[in-house]
Amino acid sequence: MRSYKEKSFQAITYITALTTIVLLMGIIYSLFREGIPLFGKVDVRSFLFTNSWYPTHAEPEFGAWALISGSLIVTVGALVIGIPLGLGSAIFISEIASGRMKEIAKPVIELLAGIPSVVYGLFGMAFLAPLIRQWFHLDTGLNVFSASVILGVMIVPIIASMSEDALSNVPKSIREASLALGSTKIECIFKAVIPAARSGIIGSILLGFGRAIGETMVVLMVSGGSAQIPRNIFASARPLTSTIAAEMGETVMGDLHYQSLFALAILLFAITFITNLITELVFLKRSFR
Amino acid sequence: MVNSRINTENLNLWFGKNHVLHDVNLSIYDKKVTAMIGPSGCGKSTLLRCFNRMNDLIPETRIEGRIMLGEKDIYAPKTDITKIRAKVGMVFQKPNPFPKSIFNNVAFGLAIQGKYSKCDIHSRVEESLKAAWLWDEVKDRLHSSAMALSGGQQQRLCIARALANSPEVLLLDEPTSALDPQSTAKIEELCLELKKSVSILIVTHNIAQAGRISDYTAFMYLGQLVEFGKTEAVFTVPGDKRTEAYLTGVFG
């Protein structure tokens, strides 16, 4: 009786653990099931590398290059802002701040991570964009620059908290050795501590990248939305995520447009999946703990 | 004539490829205190943990030989390990009460068996706490957290918790090494009282402690049982040079 209960409890935990794998497989399968039929009519190369996204025209065209480049440019912009702010904050909190300040700063960063993206989107749309428009004398503030700023701030908590962990895991002896050899605080940080925490820091940046490229609401609301390759940082862009979100409502289930949006999702999933896998396997090794 | 409660027969144990116990033949006598001494890493704790099959938790453990508890081989196939562990109680080096109330700590072993009434449990908890000389100190706060007790009290609580299962044998794994001298003395006295009703096997680093409380002493060295006999005999005329060297502090 007792061993029957033992076995069934263990079996239940085993089955629930399997559901995570089933869910992931299910997600991959459903993306492919809905998205792959597109490639019967559009060849993969022209989907990826031509620049003409006219899904609703009488003669629809599905060249997603402008959307892909929109995603990449906005994400790179976000990293340009997020890396210095996030890393700088992490280094300051971990290496320079007093214990008291650490105790305050860490929970605050955690709270920042909890702010819903749609609220950032609203802030960008109703506050930042008009300011950018005024300052730079533009027609509209809804552009790559504004989206990058907001996205950059959004990934600060990710980069900061994970790098901070990596930095504080560096053994004290490394710092002491460096300082005892006569290095200044900054030399110690940049020549001894950061190299020791390197893989964790790179991992945090990759996670930030994955988060930025997959973020929907901010780019949907702030990046402007025109399906053209952005020519400069004040041009409008239409990243993959916002294309999916904005156009899915107009499609009919199973038509080419619907399939093309799932094809974009496959691409997006592939990017984040590979980024994650590299991060996990190479830099963080969390899956093997 | 004393009866033996536990007998090991040519016990060998491996952790992976590491041969930890070599051909151990040891008897634990009924209602006596047996002390196991020996330098760190000699296998005495590992041997102790064979008697309630706690080594099963360590992956890649392999055992040969037999351990007889009364008439039964505790390593026989289809043995219910949980019953063995209820019969062979164990107290650990570091006091490890659960973060629960004092009462629930002692009641734990009975509650999980699910066959005792509330009333039974209550009386057994009281008996066990009395037997562990803790009742007077805690009877007014049975439902407050066990974590608030002092180290010595926590260790006696762990003894009471093991006693509640009415074990035949009590295994003590260096029970006083984390305690102050006063608490240690109290636990030693308690052992002398408890042996009236239960067989005790105690692992200790403290040779003097073994001399004070044990009837029999086993000396282990490098995974072998070097010497086993009445404590007076082992301490006064050790039969093996290694025992003598250890007892006189040549190595430790």
Binding site: T13, A17, G26, I27, I96, V118, V119, T216 | T82, A162
Partner: protein
């Protein structure tokens, strides 16, 4: 002052400046949200229905919708997450399966939320025929919450000292009894903290519910799980991008955003405070 000392101060100054910029942005952000949101906020705003095509009135259906979406999602994700974490941390065999599950969890955790939305739409809405509904949305959000709950629970369980399980096993408890009576109760406060944090995240998600649950305008509250619902995050998005009267809609959007923000921040701050007090009280 020599060059190295100068560089030292300069470096520290730059690092401090980055931290201050982050804090500065946060301050501007919060001030703006409160400055624009507070005038709109009132009990009527929270507890009344919207009027005149969303240009006036309150947001109660959205508050209720977010409450139901989040509660149902957590109700589904919590037991699944905790059981999975028990498997990973307590049974953990075979090793290859543990690794595969962990890779799956970390992949799910890093998957963009819009993809969960598409999955929910393809599977729950269309394939299973739940339509755009509270049910489809909650299930979609549950998938999103699971990795967070699993990771929090696993960490909480690993924080329980081995001494406790050993003591329990040595008293004759089975593995299941040890898990249910010793390990889980000891880890529970930390598990709940992690779960509360995930509640905050789930409540603020927009993309997963866009095509699975949310509707812009509903005058009534959801009556059962097959109804479409309004939700706070989607309501903010809709007010900013749809409709014809931005001058009336934007203030309502700010008010809604402040409600959502306060909700999420209170939830997360509560979790952080609980964790702080657990760490201080803990005696092992």
């Amino acid at each position: 002052m020599n060059k190295r000392t100068l560089n030292n101060y300069l470096g520290i100054g730059i690092l401090a400046a980055f931290l201050l910029m982050t804090i500065g942005f946060l301050v501007v952000f919060l001030v703006r949200m409160f400055y624009k949101g507070l005038p709109v906020l009132s009990l009527n705003f929270i507890f009344r229905n919207p009027r005149e095509a969303m240009t006036a009135g309150g947001i109660f259906p959205a508050v209720a919708g977010t409450f139901w979406l989040t509660s149902l999602a957590i109700l589904v994700a919590f037991p699944l997450g905790v059981l999975t974490a028990i498997y990973l941390s307590q049974y953990g065999k075979p090793r290859w399966l543990v690794r595969t599950v962990k890779v799956a969890i970390n992949t799910l955790a890093g998957t963009p939320s819009i993809i969960f939305g598409l999955f929910g739409m393809a599977v729950f809405v269309n394939l299973m025929g739940f339509d755009v509904s509270l049910l489809s949305g909650s299930l979609t959000l549950a998938i999103l919450a699971m990795p967070m709950i699993i990771n929090a629970t696993e960490e909480a369980i690993r924080g329980v000292p081995n001494d406790f399980s050993e003591a329990s096993l040595a008293l004759g408890a089975t593995k299941r009894q040890t898990i249910m009576k010793v390990v889980l109760p000891t880890a529970l406060p930390s598990i709940l903290t992690g779960t509360i944090i995930s509640i905050g995240r789930v409540a603020g998600e927009t993309a997963p519910i866009m095509f699975t649950a949310a509707t812009f305008y509903s005058r009534r509250l959801p009556h059962n799980i097959t109804d479409e619902v309004m939700a706070l995050p989607y309501h903010i998005y809709a007010l900013m991008t749809e409709g014809t009267k931005p001058e009336a809609q934007v203030p309502i959007a700010y008010g809604t955003a402040l409600v959502l923000l306060l909700m999420v921040l209170t939830i997360s701050a509560g979790a952080v405070a609980i964790r702080f007090s657990i760490r201080r009280k803990r005696k092992w």
